[in-house]
Point group: D2
Chain length 168, copies 4
């Protein structure tokens, strides 16, 4: 049974959770930083963390997106945040959006890993946690301080920001 | 004339903006960290920063709160974030709430200064920036991942968290 | 029996180890950050940590300095780093220096707490760990990238730096 | 003419100075972080920064090492720190060591970039700045809190630490 205001956070990896592997000398995945983030942000909303996958979103295939969709379907909480790589966040949002889940799903991520100086990860997570409590059922993307409906947003790869598909 | 989606951030200091003064060996105010924060969070919402005062909220008097109220009144933007010390955030929210401004005002702050490890400042600011775009006109407090209406919230000083005045 | 190259680190607190107490809203002592620092600096020199006291060096009395002296005397390691507040570091160095311990003792500290952005704590600790292995027996202060003998150094309180007592 | 105690820092890049490129989503070089590091470490030793190259040490060829050697030769300062990738730091140290420069040269680097949480860069730099002032002329490596002569050290790639070539 759903706790009225609880949020499920479905973790898929992305730049947000990348980790510096000092033996390989490169950015890889090891574990999620969300438990640490929940601690110091002093978030009192009940949050269920679910490690769905740890993957660079450029390497996501249909199967990976269906795995996210399935987790959203199974979620007893009707408010869901999905952490996701930015490169194909819009594609996964479309898969979730077309599924008509009847839940509020907010995707977010980061341009710079949480572990790197000047990361946008914690700011974006704050935006997503708030958006998921305020928005009506549907699928949304929270990036750059804005909240976009899944079908009217694109990533501008040159600028590294999310923007409306058609300028208003 | 108001730009449709612009946000005014009215800065009053508080723990959020405290700075370590290495000569005095204590936390004081020097300047706001908001311009730096806006840069690395990659926020694309148009934001006007207004340095209203830099003060510990325990030292705020009626005059200080009226100075915030006046800034909210003058603001051409109808969406306003106020950074504020947590100790008397509820008192200032009440002054703004009773004034019936017809604007959306969200107060936020931090339990740990932005300059200190494990600060909640950036997370809270992300929450406030999102809340101010989603909430209806009125006065709100965004802390601990939650958004409270000004007249139903209090700070629990023992736990260091904001909570509903009467448990629902 | 002494391990040939081992170092004892005697911790006394000072700005180095100050911690932000979010309930009091001020900088206090809670515990030392040295175990964490030893981990991420990947220091492979055998190091014994000894928590001697956690105190602001402005509040140190004769008894506190004798407690440091006693710890240096008891130390089986002949190479000792003392973390210490900067305000009376020179006074404690004098107490240790006059005691003719026949060991190499290096005092260090920080102008900005380890927990605060742009701290000099980790840099200074690196300097002290290296100085204690390189210097001859005697008492030294490692601050500002320099190593001073205890009897030719003073803290310039206006500039917040350590400097030779008589300019060379 | 040499200022008596001045240090030249010859920058070659390495993990120490790697930067997160948010468009490419990978670690590359953009600029050195040494000016920033010198500021917050409050180092009062006169330091000349020289940007020699910005390169991953795995990609260093003979020509790159000769470029470092030439910079050491030209240096009016007789105390030189070289920041360098760890993977071939020993090889460059050998080139410098065999050249019998008559100067004190200390190579250092980092296992984790300065820009990444829990970096060893600043600690190692503190070690190197101190070692270069304490060591006799010759070529040294300062890593893991230890100072090694160039011809008795190797990098243990499995553990990611520097160690004596033959255990003492």
């Amino acid at each position: 049974m759903e706790r009225s205001s609880a949020i499920r956070v479905i973790i898929t990896g992305g730049t947000f959770d990348k980790h510096y592997d000092e033996v390989k000398g490169s950015l890889t995945f090891k574990d999620t930083h969300l438990p640490e983030i929940l601690r110091f942000t002093r978030c009192t909303v009940p949050i269920e963390l679910e490690l769905n996958q740890l993957i660079d979103s450029l390497e996501m295939r249909t199967q990976n997106r269906l795995q996210v969709l399935e987790a959203c379907r199974r979620s007893p909480e009707r408010r869901i945040v999905v952490t996701h790589g930015t490169d194909t966040m819009v594609e996964t949002a479309e898969v979730l959006g077309r599924a008509a889940l009847g839940k509020t799903v907010v995707l977010t991520g980061a341009m710079v890993p949480y572990m790197v100086t000047n990361s946008d990860a914690v700011f974006n997570f704050g935006c997503a946690v708030t958006a998921v409590q305020q928005c009506t059922p549907g699928v949304w993307i929270a990036m750059n301080g804005r909240v976009f409906r899944w079908d009217v947003v694109r990533k501008n790869r040159d600028l590294g920001v999310f923007e409306p598909k058609e300028e208003p």
